[in-house]
Every structure is written in C-alpha cells, then in structure tokens.
Amino acid sequence: MATQIPVNELHDQGAQAPRRLWLEMLHGWVTTVDHKKIGLMYIGYALIFLVVGGFEALLMRIQLAIPNNHFVSPEVFNGLFTMHGTTMVFFVGMPILFGFGNYLIPLMIGARDMAFPRLNAFSFWISAFAGFLLYFSYIGGSGLYGAGSAPDVGWFAYAPLTARVFSPGHSTDYWTLALLLTGIGSIGTALNIVTTIICMRCPGMKMSRLPLLPWIYLVMSGLTFVAIGPLTAAQIMLMLDRYVGSHFFDTQAGGSAVLWMHFFWIFGHPEVYILVLPAFAFANEIIPVFSRKAIFGYPAMVAASVGIGFISLSVWAHHMFTVGLGPGGNTFFVLATMIISVPTGIKIFNWLATLWGGKIQFTASMMFAIGFLFQFLVAGLTGIMLSVAPFDWQLGNSYFVVAHFHYVLVGAILFMVFSAFYYWYPKMTGRMLNEKLGKWHFWLFVIGFHLTFDLMHVPGMLGMPRRIYTYEADRGWMIWNLLISSGAIIQTVATILFVYNMVSSYFKGPIAGSDPWDAWTLEWSIPSPPPSYNFAEIPIVGSRRPLWDLKHPDDPDTDYEMGQADPQEKQEEGA
C-alpha cells in the first residue's frame, strides 16, 4: 500500500474537490498525447458532427417531402446540402476512422503509443478547430436565421461558382479554410499511422503477420498523402483567385473551370476510398471472429487492398463523364473504374468464404457487418452501372448517384462503423453495450435505410437532379420523396437508440473483461480499458493470430503460415 492514488486527499477537500477533479480531468484530456485518449476524442467529436450532419439531412428531407415546399428558403437549403456533405465527409468520416485507427493500431501491433504522440495531438486539435471554423460560418455574415455565411457552393465547390464575382460573401472562404486546416490534420495523422506501423511493430511481427486492420490503414494513409495534396493545392489556387486576383479558374482570362474539376476529383475519388478502406479493415477483423474462422486468403486481401489503393488514383474523371472529355477520355475512365471492381469483388468473395464453413454468431456487431456485406454489394453494383458512361450521362448528377454514394457511405461505411462500435466499445470502456438495444438499433436502422436509399434510386431514374431545393409537382417525384423522407425519420430514431445505448452502457453495462469475444489479435490480451502504457511487457508474436495460437496450441496458425514459418520459432513452441 506504499504508493496510493491520493483519493482520500481529494475527498477531504470538501466542496472544492469535485470542481478541481473536473478541471484536472479536463486538463488531462486537453493536453493528452496518449493515442487512446486522442482516438476517443476523435470518435466523440465525429459523433457530435454525425448528429449535426444528420439534422441537416433531416431538414432537407422535410423540405423535399412535398413539391414546392416552403420549409426553408433556397439559400438555406443550398447551405444545408453543402454543409451536410462537407460535415459528413471531413468532420464525421475522417475523424471517426482516424479515431479508431489511432486507438487500435498501437494495440494491435504491440506498441505503447503512436510514433509521434505530440503530432497526434496537434493533428486532432487542428481538425477540431477546423470544424469549429466551418460551423462558425453560420453565425458570420447576417447571422443564424439568414444562414449567415455558411458555405453554399456544394461540397465540391465547382469553379467558377466559387469565384468572387459569383460568390461575393465569405461562404466559400469558410469552406476553403476549414478544409485546408483539416487537411493538415489528416496528413499529420496519416503520417503517424504509416510511421507507427512501419517502425513500431513488436518483435516477430513481420509485415506478413500484421493484422489486416493495420495493413489497410497503411494503404489508406498512403492514399491520404497523395490525395489531400491536390485538394490543398486547388484550394490555395482558389484563395489566390479570390483575393490576389490570379486566374487559375478565371474563365474570362482564359482559365479553365474543368481544371478545378480535375484537381478536385483527383482528391475526391481517392478520398472516398480513404473513407471506405477502414470499413474494410473493420470487416476483416470482425467477420472472422464471429465466424470463428481465420480470414480466407490473407495475402489476397492485402494485395486487393493495395490494388484498390493504386487503382483509385486513376478513376477520378468518372465524375466528369458529362463534361466533354471526348470519347477517348471517357473510355479510359470507364475502363479504370470497371477494373477497380475486380479487387473489390475479391474482397467480398473472401468474406463470403470466411463465413462459409464457420459457426456464425449473430451478435449486434456481426449483424451490422452482414448488413455491410449485403449493402456494399448493392452499392458496388450501382457503381458498375454508373461506370458505364452512357448510363452516367442519364443518371449522373441525379438522385441515382446520391442513392449510390449514400449506399456506400451509410449502408457500407456507417454500418461497419456501428459494427466496430459494438465490437470495440467493451475494450475502450470495459463494459458491454446492450445486445438487445443493439438489435433494435440494427433492425430499425435497416428498415429506415432501405426505405430511404433503395427508393431514392427511383427519382433519379425519373429525371430528378440533385441539389435542388424543390421540384415541380408534375414530374411524378412526390410519392418517392415522401417515402424517402419518412425513412430518414426512422433512421433518426434508430440513431437515438444507439446514442442512448452508448451512454447508459457506460454506467450500467456488464463488465467486459479483456477478451469478451474470444478473439485473436493483441488488443484482447490486455485489460479493458487498457492501462496508459498498453502492454506491461512488449509481446513477441509468431503468427497472424497470436491469441489463437495460445488458445489452440494443438492447431496453431504458425503451422499454416505460407512458407513463412521460422524453424527456430517452431522449436520454441514445441518446447
């Protein structure tokens, strides 16, 4: 009892104690460089913006439920779809995925923290500030009711709509500056992830033994470096055009509006792969555990992920099929886009093969993962449809595209994020989420999701373009919009259930222990929640599933590693 936490002292300080404890806790969080705390801050921050972005979507759906509605003005609506898209991509998607990566990667590779802890903290806080700056725009300008200076140029901010002459206020500037800042944060975190994975693996963890989650985060971070640069460059050019009088996108001076599109989509398409790859990473960890089988075809999964990363850099102009690239340009991007379906399909088949012959446990986490599989399949197929340029000539920039990408973003990515929550919440908090509530969350969300996004393909096929604040009654779109809007409400209810589950389980959930799922990667070998130093002793691993080997000494993975088995390690094991 020599070294004691001075809890008694705090109690004795009477009324001052709670406030001082509070301040100390706050100080601890604000100044932390611990990857776990930073990861949790990223996740919490993303969840707040998820609610905000979802609210923006709800407002839009109310406006669109009936034709010629007057729920919000055109200016407010245009701000809503811009903010919704920008928020969801940059302030929900990126942070939540970086948050999980930050938390899990050191644990999975047997390290004590990320490679550059202070850079980690800096990256988080600059992104947090960027989110604040973006939303400050609502208060700027003429204030909240007139929607202030909230960006209203669409999340891809096409030139020359963003030029001073067409967007005279500061809405574009808020968009540009907020994203420039969060881009710096993203590069910082990606740099940290790559360096951590390459330089801080525990002994024995060769790259061929790296769990698939860090592998995919490696690819995703590499993509981040190559993709965020073009966005940063284009935004610098845009600011120069707006404030210094340069002519990058000034069509009056001979500049090109198409150049912005190229630069933006050279960022924009890899960006969506940056968003989806971590969903694959979660699936690679979760599906095997709840099938009770190793992932089928580990080398192929690695190769497919790397392949997806590379190919995603070459498909960008499938967002520009209607711009007039000419048949040569169009067919090149058709081909590149179709090719990416091959490694993506391989991943889906490998997941199916993992399930095949297994003993599938339908926990809430697994149900979301299965939802992901099904919905990602559909999303990929509508993507293939859109890759056929003539199809895109009709359906591009319509609600069919909106349905397609929400199918990926919500149906695949968000579902997998929910799955990851149910799976790793016990590790992060030491308590289990309520399974029954989880299943209610799942079914309600599935119903709402399909009601909204299955039906959304129809108005697109009936000719409804995107980004319109209202529509005419004689186009036959109303019934679809009404049903779509009702699905949004159901999804809202499901999300409220989820938030409630997270909060109440923190206080009342059953204690999880270090390994509630009987899983196989290193994070399950330490207490829940992990101590600040993660591992009392840095582990040494001999296969891809170290805990499986420990639990199944008669049938260890080391026997099956494809020609990687180290004869000396096998000797040690036998001893």
Binding site: L191, I526, I538, I540, V541, L550
Partner: protein
Amino acid sequence: MSEAVLKSASPNQPWTLPSRGIVGMTCLIIAEIAIFVIFVVAYIFYIGKSLSGPMPKDVLELPIFTTICLLSSSLTVHAAVSALQKGKQLLCSLWLAATVFLGGIFIAGTAHEWYDLIYKHGLTIRTNLFGTTFYSLVGLHATHVVIGLILLSLALLFSMRGEMKEEHSEKLEVLSLYWHFVDGVWVIVFLVVYVLGR
C-alpha cells in the same frame, strides 16, 4: 484480468525496424510532392494559353547561377551530416553554414528576378495565366526553401554552440532529407518553367 502472457523470451534474431524520423519525413515529402505536382500540372496546362501580356520567352532568363548554388547546397548538407556522423562537430558547422549561405544566394536571386519581372516587365500574379502559374509555382517552392533555411539556421546555431552531437546525426539526416526534396523540386520547376515553358 487475464493478461495472456505471450512469449516474452528474447527473440533469436535481432528485430530491427526503420527509423521513425526517416519514415515520417518521407511521408511528409510524398504529401508535399502531391501538392507540387498539381501546381506543375496547372503550369503545363496553361502554357501558351495566356490571352495577353508578357510571355515567358520575353521575360525569363535561365537562372543558372542560383540553380548551381541551390543544387550544391545539397552536397554541402550531405557533407554536414557525414561530418556529424563521424563526430566532427566543427566541420559539421562549417558545412551547415555553407548550406545556409548557398540557399540564401538562391533566395536573393529569386527576389532579384521577381523585382525585375514586376517593375521592369510588369508581370504580376494577376497579369495573365503565365503570371498566375509562374508566381504560384516558384513562390511555393521559394516558401519551402525559406522554411528549410530557417530550420537549417537553427541547426547551425545548435551546432555552433556545441550542442549538436554524434547521437543527433539522424535528426540532422531527416532535415537534410527535406532539403534534398526542396532541391529536387527545383530541378523539376527549372525544367518545366525555364526550359519547357519558354
């Protein structure tokens, strides 16, 4: 709780991993290259498309001298790193000073070139597409040179105060990597702006 004890016997083979500083700097360089590529692409795209105003061949002169200075500074910074790795602190200081000096000449030369372009030829960033792409690309590079010079000067300061020792040679190597990147970018900028574009 059950902390499963994994094998904690010492491994039979030494477990070596790459250095964090080098990997981190490489990542940063890749990200920066992505930014520069876009400015280079914009430059190349707009060659010959200016509607008016001074054209490159009218106003640009090959900056041979400053280029030689900048590229030599890569050699000097490499020498500084080698010197430090062998523990020769004074030599390291000298080579670092040479690097800063050569980099300084480059910046001064760029400033002089811009002064002439603006005041003698009337070319600014808003004059035409050439002005826009020229100043932004060369300016972005010059900014990176200035940042490098600041960092190198700091290193020189530490070195002169005798605080930079052999064990810091890897950190200096990471900085030198940045400087090599800056020089490499200049090679591209030089070829695109002064050779291809004229």
